[in-house]
């Protein structure tokens, strides 16, 4: 059974949802409090959604200094599978584990709505079980979800096949309709939509399953 750690910062709020999704997929999942410095023994790490440290200053700006982030960076650098969902994606960009930054939505309002995602690459630990061009309906829930980067970074993302998911209809002004990106190795991935909220037909759809299933079953990296 895979063992997944869900990092909890003060202000995180989707940690229980991530835990529940892991449970549905048959993984064992535990919380990792942000002051932890040792995260050995996990097969994968999730940084869940929410408002770590209140999102004060900038989303993810204070969270990236939490003690656990040093361990997360080491885990990522040694090939461990790391997934940042929404606020977790913001933390990963602030920490420099993923390129770019997330700015306020174009419309300057929070958006909670379903979006249609298009799988752009299957190289990442998140999209490895999907097929290129596959459309998935997954909700977004964010205020600062407009992916931003400079031209050179954008070119590099395309050349290295790092763009994991794009929006079919851009809801927030994201550059290149980007919904999720991975690092060059594909083992660190962040996305603004919430796949853990799309796990059951009772709650409106189960398209997030193919993503999280891929993540849970990703081969354990060289650590």
């Amino acid at each position: 059974m895979k063992h997944i750690g869900v990092v909890v910062f003060p202000g995180s709020n989707c940690e229980y949802d991530a835990l529940a999704a892991m449970g549905v997929l048959g993984a064992q999942a535990d919380f990792i409090w942000h002051s932890e410095t040792d995260i050995s023994g996990y097969d994968g790490v999730i940084l869940p959604g929410g408002f770590a440290h209140g999102d004060y200053l900038r989303p993810g700006a204070l969270a990236r200094f939490s003690p656990v982030m040093t361990a997360v960076a080491e885990f990522a650098n040694s090939g461990g599978a790391v997934l940042g969902i929404c606020n977790g994606f913001q933390v990963l960009t602030e920490a420099g584990l993923l390129p770019g930054a997330l700015q306020k939505n174009r419309g300057l309002t929070f958006l909670c709505q379903p979006t249609t995602l298009i799988v752009e690459s299957t190289k990442s630990v998140l999209t490895r079980g999907a097929t290129i061009g596959q459309e998935l309906i997954v909700p977004i829930n964010h205020f600062s979800g407009a992916y931003t980067c400079d031209d050179a970074t954008y070119r590099a993302l395309e050349e290295n096949d790092q763009i994991a998911l794009r929006y079919k209809e851009n809801p927030n002004g994201s550059r290149g309709d980007i919904a999720g990106v991975a690092n060059v190795g594909g083992n660190v991935v962040g996305l603004m939509p919430h796949p853990e909220r799309a796990m059951s037909n009772l709650l409106g759809g189960a398209d997030g399953r193919v993503l999280l299933e891929g993540f849970v079953n990703a081969p354990v990296g060289a650590r």
């Binding site: 200053l57 900038r58 700006a61 200094f65 960009t93 602030e94 390129p99 770019g100 930054a101 700015q103 306020k104 939505n105 174009r106 419309g107 300057l108 407009a146 931003t148 980067c149 400079d150 002004g173």
Partner: protein, 84 residues
């Protein structure tokens, strides 16, 4: 000594500023014309303990670059504030 310092954080050139753009678009309807290039930014006021003003500013600059701004999209500068 405590020195009052202000750190200004602005968006880097070329980075879209939806907030500034939205305000600028709304202005004519409210009777404000002739306002262009609106850019929204942030500022942080604080007191810094240091032996002299120059080292207070130096400390503020480090803080500005390491924490108060995200260099991927923002510039930050420190200046001395006024007591009060």
């Amino acid at each position: 000594m405590n020195y009052p310092v202000i750190v200004d954080v602005t968006l880097r050139q070329g980075i879209a500023d939806p907030e500034g753009a939205t305000i600028e678009r709304a202005l004519p309807a409210l009777g404000f014309t002739g306002v262009t290039h609106m850019r929204a930014g942030k500022s942080f006021r604080m007191d810094i303990e240091a032996p002299d003003e120059a080292s207070a500013l130096e400390k503020a600059t480090a803080l500005a670059e390491r924490l108060l701004s995200n260099p991927v999209i923002e510039n930050a500068t420190a200046r001395s504030g006024t007591k009060g």
